[in-house]
Every structure is written in structure tokens, then in C-alpha cells.
């Protein structure tokens, strides 16, 4: 009963049934919007979906176990095994040393042979199951880890300026420097957004309770996240940090604002302290260049030039505008505004996910398996079994793939080995 259950749950039919279940569930969600997201929720958060998902994991695992055991365990030396092969023959009137002849013949063909009194077993490419097994193992690891990751992952995004401490649940971190990889200028042409940054990196220090730094690391926007004590850090955004001074008469407002003005052309609105004023920023081009019918805007990204709108209400009314270079003062409505030299801030994604490392491991196995799979076109199992029983030599041959050619090959070998009279009972 257990063996039967094992065979059922490890069979490819079961895989097909589960896959069909997943397909039909996706088809169900096609009727609505965000079909993939709804389907993913079904798979990971509902009993039916979880049943299908975990059934797939169990099935793949058991299938791998079945295949490995079958391939590594010695074959059953029985006449029934011979008859179950792709092609077999029963030869009478053979010499006493028929098994020896078969043994020598198969060794010449490059097979690994084993001979006992009553049988010869010849096999080749015994470990050809490895690429498929690596792929399946990778799938099992990735699927299992993904399931855990979906449920246990804690992710947060924080904005950090240079030189600012941040208290995370586990530790205190400091961004000591930010390397934004910004070009000195940027020419924007037409409506296409071609502003791309290769890699934004930041130096990160982690402090313990006694404010001693015990980790120094560099986190990046490009590449994979950095793992510091089990927590993954990654840069997800780059923005500008700008000191702003607003004067009206004797009243003075000093504030450092974090604004998202990249790519150039984007605007951002911040509320000034006091809550009654809003300031909208945008980068102004240094010059406009015309070429043919194209008009390009050239932005200086070293010394930023801003277009500032000051208003009472966030969305409308009582606007005052100014175009101002950083490090200078300008009049804006009834106020005077001074913008200091900009620095940068980064948006850091902080992910606490113990399963993520296993997801990466699973992906590596999957890629390795995919890379190795093409070799299965020529690397596949071949086996021959010859059993001597009461004057009859039962000989069978099996190839994992290209069975037609394997059967033809067997009959050619048979002709070479046969002594003449044979009663051939061939598998249909």
C-alpha cells in the first residue's frame, strides 16, 4: 500500500494532474483584472492553492527519489525483467560459453559489465539521470523556499541621508557615503526617457548597542542585495537632499528637504514645517538645444538649477515661482529663498527573509540543470541483461531514448552473437 502510494505520488501523471489544476485555476482568474496577482494569492494563501503547490513540491521530491533509487539500485535478475525490456530474444542451441561471449562483446562496446554464473548485466551511462535530478532538486528547493519567503518575509523601505543614523529593529545603521554615479550633465531629447544610472552605491556601517561599528559594507542598486547578518540590503532609489531657507521679514524657516527629482523633468512637492506652505521642486535645464525638429534640454547635474513653486495650498492657489541655482538666494513672491548645496539620499530596501538564501540556491540548481539538460540528447542509459536458464539464453536490451534505433541495434548484435538456430520471441 505504501509502495503503491509512493508510486502514485511520484508519478509523472500526478505531476500532469497538478499542473492541470494550476492551469485551470489561472484560467479562472483570467476573467478579472490583475489575473496573475490574484492567481498568486490563490496559490500561496488559500487552502486549495497551497494544496496544489505543496502537492507539486512533494511530487517532484518523490519523483527524484524514485528515479535515483531506480537508477542506482541493482537490477532484478529475472527472466521477467528481460521480457519487460524494449527487445528481447530467447536463444536455444547456444554454446556453453554464451554468457562469456556476451560479456566480452558488450565490454568491447564500452559497457560496464557484471557477470555471475547465470547472468550477464551490461550497463552504460548509469548517472545520466543527474541533469534532470539537479533540475528537479533545484525546483523543489526554489518552490519550498519561495513558499516560506512569501509568508515570513519582512520588508521595509527607508530613506537615509549621508551621515544619518537609522534604528532598525535589530541594529543601528549609518550611511557614511553615497556614490550616485551621476554624469556631469544630461541631455534629454523628445519624450523618451533615456536617463539611466549604472550603479548607485553607498557605504553602510552597522553599529552594536555600544555604538561600535562591527560591519562595513557597500550596498548597491545593481546586482544582488548585500547580506549583513542575515538581513538583505539594497538601494531602491536615489534622491536629492537640499537645505532650504525661507525668509519673510524677520521670520525664518530652515529645513532640509528630501526630494525625488530624478530623472530630470520630474517634480516633487514637500510640506514645509508649520504645515501651511508647500514647495514644489523641479530641475531646470541649463540650456535648450534644437537639432532638426528635435529639441533637447541639457541639465547640469553638478550644479543644480531648480524651478521652485511656493503655494499655500498643496494643489492650488497663491503660487509664487522662482528659478534658482543652488547656493544662491532669490525672491519668491513676498519671500526670499536660499537653496544650499545638495547632497543625496538613498532609499534602502531592508529585507529580513531567512528563506531567501535558499531561493537563490534553488535558482542556481535550476540554472545548472537547464544548462546540463541538452547533454541528455546523447547521454542516456543503455542496459543489456542476459540470463541463462535451463539451456535457454534469455537476452534483452533497453535504451532510455531513441528506442527504435536501440531495438535495431540489438538485433544486429543478436545476429553477430547468434550461432544460427534461434527461437526469437520478440517484444511487440
Amino acid at each position: 500500500m505504501n509502495k503503491r502510494l509512493f508510486l502514485v505520488f511520484s508519478s509523472w501523471w500526478f505531476t500532469a494532474a497538478i499542473s492541470l489544476g494550476l492551469v485551470f485555476s489561472y484560467i479562472y482568474f483570467l476573467f478579472g483584472s490583475s489575473s496573475y496577482d490574484n492567481w498568486a494569492f490563490f496559490v500561496f494563501h488559500t487552502p486549495a492553492g497551497l494544496g496544489l503547490y505543496m502537492g507539486l513540491i512533494v511530487n517532484l521530491l518523490l519523483a527524484s527519489v524514485r528515479i535515483v533509487f531506480r537508477r542506482l539500485s541493482p537490477p532484478e535478475i529475472r527472466i521477467e525483467t528481460v521480457r519487460a525490456m524494449d527487445a528481447f530474444a530467447e536463444l536455444n542451441d547456444v554454446s556453453d560459453d554464451a554468457l562469456g561471449k556476451v560479456f566480452d562483446f558488450m565490454r568491447l562496446k564500452g559497457f560496464r559489465c557484471r557477470r555471475e554464473n547465470s547472468y550477464v548485466y551490461a550497463g552504460k551511462n548509469r548517472f545520466s539521470f543527474l541533469p534532470g535530478t539537479v533540475l528537479q532538486v533545484g525546483l523543489v528547493i526554489a518552490l519550498t523556499a519561495s513558499l516560506f519567503s512569501v509568508h515570513v518575509r519582512k520588508s521595509q523601505e527607508v530613506i537615509l541621508r549621508e551621515g544619518k543614523f537609522m534604528d532598525f529593529p535589530a541594529e543601528k545603521i549609518l550611511i557614511s557615503s553615497i556614490s550616485p554615479d551621476l554624469p556631469p550633465d544630461f541631455l534629454q531629447i523628445g519624450q523618451e526617457d533615456i536617463f539611466r544610472l549604472g550603479n548607485v552605491s553607498a557605504k553602510l556601517q552597522v553599529f552594536d548597542d555600544e555604538n561600535r561599528s562591527y560591519v562595513n559594507s557597500r550596498i548597491n542598486s545593481f546586482g544582488f542585495p548585500v547580506n549583513i547578518k542575515g538581513v538583505f540590503y539594497r538601494i531602491r532609489g536615489l534622491g536629492i537632499t537640499l537645505p532650504v531657507e525661507l525668509k519673510r521679514g524677520s521670520s525664518d524657516l530652515n529645513q532640509i528637504v528630501d526630494i525625488d527629482l530624478l530623472p530630470p523633468g520630474r517634480t516633487d512637492t514637500v510640506a514645509l514645517s508649520g504645515g501651511d506652505k508647500y514647495m514644489t521642486f523641479a530641475l531646470q535645464p541649463e540650456k535648450v538645444i534644437a537639432k532638426g525638429l528635435f529639441k533637447g534640454k541639457q541639465y547640469n547635474l553638478r550644479n543644480l538649477f531648480y524651478h521652485v513653486v511656493l503655494r499655500q495650498d498643496k494643489d492650488k492657489g497663491n503660487e509664487a515661482k522662482a528659478d534658482i541655482m543652488e547656493g544662491t538666494t532669490a525672491k519668491i513672491g513676498d519671500d526670499k529663498i536660499f537653496l544650499g548645496k545638495h547632497t543625496f539620499h538613498v532609499k534602502i530596501q531592508y529585507v529580513d527573509d531567512p528563506a531567501l538564501i535558499f531561493v537563490y540556491a534553488g535558482m542556481i540548481f535550476i540554472l545548472a540543470g537547464i544548462f546540463l539538460m541538452p547533454c541528455r540528447f546523447f547521454w542516456y542509459e543503455k542496459e543489456l541483461l542476459a540470463v541463462w536458464d535451463g539451456g535457454l539464453l534469455h537476452m534483452g536490451y533497453r535504451e532510455e531514448f531513441y528506442k527504435k534505433w536501440g531495438i535495431q541495434k540489438f538485433h544486429v548484435w543478436l545476429d553477430n552473437l547468434s550461432s544460427g538456430n534461434e527461437t526469437a520471441v520478440k517484444k511487440s
Partner: protein
């Protein structure tokens, strides 16, 4: 109502073709129970589908046409992929099992269901159409009678030809697997009732596969913490973009539909030759092997037919999802400027165009204009080139001169970043506009002034007349 009659006739004729393939298969025809089950399924489909489509109380309360179309697609795909199931259950590609592939008790029900789904959705759509047309013409009874007559007429050929059809050796050509796949592919090709449902099944298949790939790609990127960013490069973003592209969706669609027939083909050709060792005489051995191989060739006929049908359908999908863009020509006249045709940069000829100068043509879309010269229409095009300059040319090729009966193949359309000659389908780089020769459109001299393109009418007509004067293909100016 002749249109309704013809529609019903067409749909029932298509159904009868599919029905004939199954009904006259010896394993089905020779058993009364199987035959009856299949015909009962078809009849039930006709009645139930017709009533569901025709009766307003059903029409109003049940699913919309789009949802019925969706379920028709699902049923056709199930029939198509049932071929794979039969191929997996069969011990060999050529031998048809005596007892069938399913337990005997299940077979009549399976045949009933097959007969039902061969015709149900079409019957519903025809019923719906009949009710619609009947209501419009205020003659529901007439519509009903037309549909009945058309449907009955569509089955006449199969009834009259049954004696001859029974003689066709279907069992030598079809296995259960290839029969399912053939029926599925023919259903894809026939489509639904075209008056209500447009397009073929592979279009939504490709769209939905593309949607799935995109969602999956985003989910994996989010899981691995390598999500895309609007302006910062991320790891494997190029690969992710490729995976979610139309090209990958098309490749997956190709694999999805071509997989079953190709697997069947491999299965057929990998069948080993029969064992003839116990036969006496070389001639008899050769005869047996030759007969077997001839049977294999016959078995490939339906599979090859399916492959050809699918290739045609995939080509139609590609054309639908990557259409040629061809704007309607805008009329230009000399107006206040005698001898000059003036086209403002906005491309919009209306005097109240709100587009600012400098924003024109930046969408990089092809624009066409027509100047009426006597009884003739001179069509020319304008487009922004990658270097920011304008290209202006006649909408005619020096080389390709389609015949008068195919005049709509004259000129150019746009596909992506190329112009395409509609007659020879040669893609032409936009950067080569204004350059004469080859498959390029014949350039026109122009100037730019006051934010407008200016062409001398005399230049346009002279070049046009010279082009029309060319008698031979390939003759250059």
C-alpha cells in the same frame, strides 16, 4: 432571411465535417451504442445551444458573448490536448487498441460529450444571431425557420455521402490521438460564428501567455530582490525584459500549439519496424516492412495537415498583433499659396491645431497626404527620421508596380521603426528616406519655413508623371 440561412448552413457544414471524422471511424460506426451516443450529443448541442442562444430569458440571464467565446476556446483546447492523453495511453503510435483507450463504460459518455461540444457553442451563437436579426426585422419566426433550414441543409452532404464516406479507410490514417488533434485544429481554423466572434483562438492564447510571463517575471524579480527601476540599472533586467516580450510569448504559443502534433510525429517515426525474423522468404519480410512503413506515412497525413493549419493560424496571429500602421491620407491644397503645398509641423491641417511648433512628428509615426491633381490622387508621405530631419517622399515605389486589381498593395505602411512596402513587404529603414533607389519611396524636394513643410506643386506633379510613365519594373529615373 438569406444571411441567416447561409450562416446556419456554413456552421452546420463545418460541424458535419468534424462529425464525419468521428462518426465514420470504424470503431465508432460499427457499434450502435457509440454511434447513437455521438449523434445524441450533436442533437442535444443543437437543441440546447439553440434554445440558450435564441430564448431571451436565457440570453439575458446567462453569460455574455465574450464569456461564451472564452469557454468555446477552452473546449477546443481540451479536445486538441486530449490527443496527447490518447498518445500517452496508447502502447504504440500505429496500433489502435482493440478495446479503445478508455474503459468501455465511459466511452459512450465521452462520445456524447464530444458530439455535444462539437456543435454547442456554434448553435448558441447562431441562435443568438437569429434572435438578434429576428428582433431587428420584427420577424422572429422567419429567423427561426431560416436557421432551421440552414442547419438541416448543412447536414445534407454528410447524409447523402455516407455510403462513400464509410468506404474511406479512416482507421488507416487516424489514430485516436491524431483524430483528436485534427478535430481540435479544424475547430481552431473554423473559429466561431464570425458574425459575432472575430479573431482566432491563438490571439488570446498569446496575449494571456504574455500576461502570465510578465506577471511571473515581476514576481520572480521581486522575490530575488532584483526588481526593475525606472532609471537605475538592475541585474538581469535585459533578460527579464526579453522574457516578458512579445517575442517570447509568440515562441511559447508556438511551442504550446505545435508541441502535440510534433510529439505525435516523433512518436510515429520512432515506431520500430515489425519483427520479421520468423517469416520465411525475403520477399514476405520486405512486404511486411514496406506495408508497415506505408501505414506510417498515412498516419502522418493528418498530423502534417494539422501542422499546416497551425502555421497559417500563427501567421494570422503575428499579423494581427503586429499590424501595419497606415494612416488615412490628409488632403492638401494650394490654398493661399499658389504653386506651393504647405504642411504645418503639427501634421494637423486644421487651422485650429493646438499643437505647438516643435512637437510635430515627434511621435515618429508615418503621415500621409493626398493632393488632387485633375482626376488623379497624388499620395505622398512625411516622417521624422532618427537624426531629427524630415523625410518626404511619394507614396510609391520605383520598382514595385502592383497591378490595378491590387491597387491597395501600392505604397508604404509603417511597422515599428521601418517603412514596409505593401507589395513586396520589404522593410525600409526610416533613416534612408529622401534617398532614391532600391525599394525606397521616391523622394520629393521640400523646404522648411515658418514651422511648415513646403513643396512646390510643380515638383510633385512632375515627379509623379515621370513615375507613372515608367512602364517596366526596375526602370530608374
Amino acid at each position: 432571411m438569406p444571411d441567416l440561412f447561409l450562416t446556419a448552413f456554413r456552421e452546420s457544414l463545418q460541424c458535419s465535417v468534424l462529425l464525419a471524422l468521428v462518426l465514420f471511424y470504424p470503431a465508432v460506426w460499427e457499434k450502435t451504442l457509440f454511434r447513437t451516443s455521438l449523434l445524441a450529443g450533436v442533437s442535444a448541442a443543437f437543441f440546447v445551444g439553440g434554445i440558450v442562444g435564441f430564448s431571451p430569458s436565457f440570453t439575458g440571464n446567462l453569460l455574455s458573448n465574450e464569456t461564451w467565446t472564452f469557454w468555446r476556446y477552452v473546449s477546443e483546447l481540451l479536445i486538441f490536448y486530449a490527443g496527447l492523453l490518447f498518445a500517452a495511453l496508447s502502447p504504440s503510435a500505429t496500433k489502435n487498441r482493440e478495446g479503445g483507450y478508455l474503459p468501455f463504460d465511459v466511452l459512450p459518455a465521452a462520445l456524447f460529450c464530444l458530439g455535444f461540444f462539437l456543435f454547442f457553442f456554434e448553435a448558441r451563437a447562431v441562435g443568438f444571431l437569429a434572435h438578434d436579426v429576428g428582433e431587428m426585422k420584427d420577424n422572429l419566426f422567419g429567423a427561426f425557420v431560416s436557421v432551421l433550414a440552414g442547419t438541416a441543409t448543412g447536414f445534407i452532404p454528410i447524409v447523402m455521402l455516407r455510403k462513400y464516406l464509410l468506404k474511406v479507410p479512416l482507421e488507416n490514417v487516424f489514430s485516436a490521438a491524431s483524430l483528436c488533434i485534427t478535430i481540435g485544429a479544424l475547430q481552431f481554423a473554423f473559429g466561431g460564428v464570425s458574425e459575432i466572434e472575430k479573431g482566432n483562438i491563438l490571439i488570446p492564447v498569446q496575449r494571456n501567455l504574455g500576461g502570465f510571463l510578465d506577471g511571473w517575471r515581476r514576481a520572480v524579480q521581486s522575490l530575488l530582490l532584483i526588481s526593475d527601476h525606472p532609471f537605475m540599472d538592475t541585474a538581469f533586467s535585459g533578460l527579464a525584459e526579453y522574457i516578458a516580450s512579445d517575442r517570447t510569448a509568440m515562441a511559447l504559443t508556438l511551442l504550446f500549439v505545435m508541441g502535440p502534433p510534433l510529439l505525435l510525429l516523433v512518436r510515429i517515426f520512432s515506431s520500430p519496424d515489425p519483427l520479421v525474423g520468423d517469416l520465411r522468404g525475403g520477399a514476405q519480410k520486405r512486404y511486411v516492412v514496406a506495408s508497415f512503413r506505408k501505414e506510417l506515412v498515412y498516419q502522418t497525413l493528418p498530423v502534417m495537415t494539422v501542422i499546416i493549419i497551425l502555421i497559417i493560424l500563427l501567421h494570422a496571429v503575428n499579423l494581427t498583433l503586429n499590424p501595419l500602421y497606415e494612416p488615412s491620407p490628409i488632403s492638401v491644397t494650394e490654398a493661399d499659396h499658389k504653386g506651393i503645398l504647405k504642411i504645418p509641423f503639427s501634421g494637423d491641417m486644421s487651422p485650429h491645431s493646438s499643437k505647438e511648433a516643435g512637437n510635430s512628428f515627434e511621435d515618429k509615426k508615418l503621415r500621409k497626404y493626398v493632393y488632387f491633381y485633375g482626376n488623379e490622387q497624388i499620395v505622398f508621405l512625411a516622417m521624422l527620421k532618427p537624426d531629427g530631419s524630415l523625410g518626404v517622399a511619394l507614396d510609391e515605389c520605383e520598382i514595385c508596380r502592383p497591378p490595378d486589381w491590387k491597387s491597395d498593395a501600392k505604397g508604404y505602411s509603417q511597422r515599428g521603426e521601418h517603412l514596409v512596402c505593401k507589395y513586396c513587404m520589404t522593410p525600409i529603414a526610416v533613416s534612408s528616406l529622401n534617398k532614391p533607389g532600391g525599394c525606397n519611396p521616391v523622394p520629393l524636394p521640400f523646404t522648411i519655413e515658418d514651422n511648415s513643410i513646403l513643396l512646390r506643386t510643380e515638383d510633385v506633379t512632375d515627379i509623379y508623371k515621370k513615375l507613372q510613365g515608367l512602364e517596366k519594373k526596375g526602370t530608374h529615373f
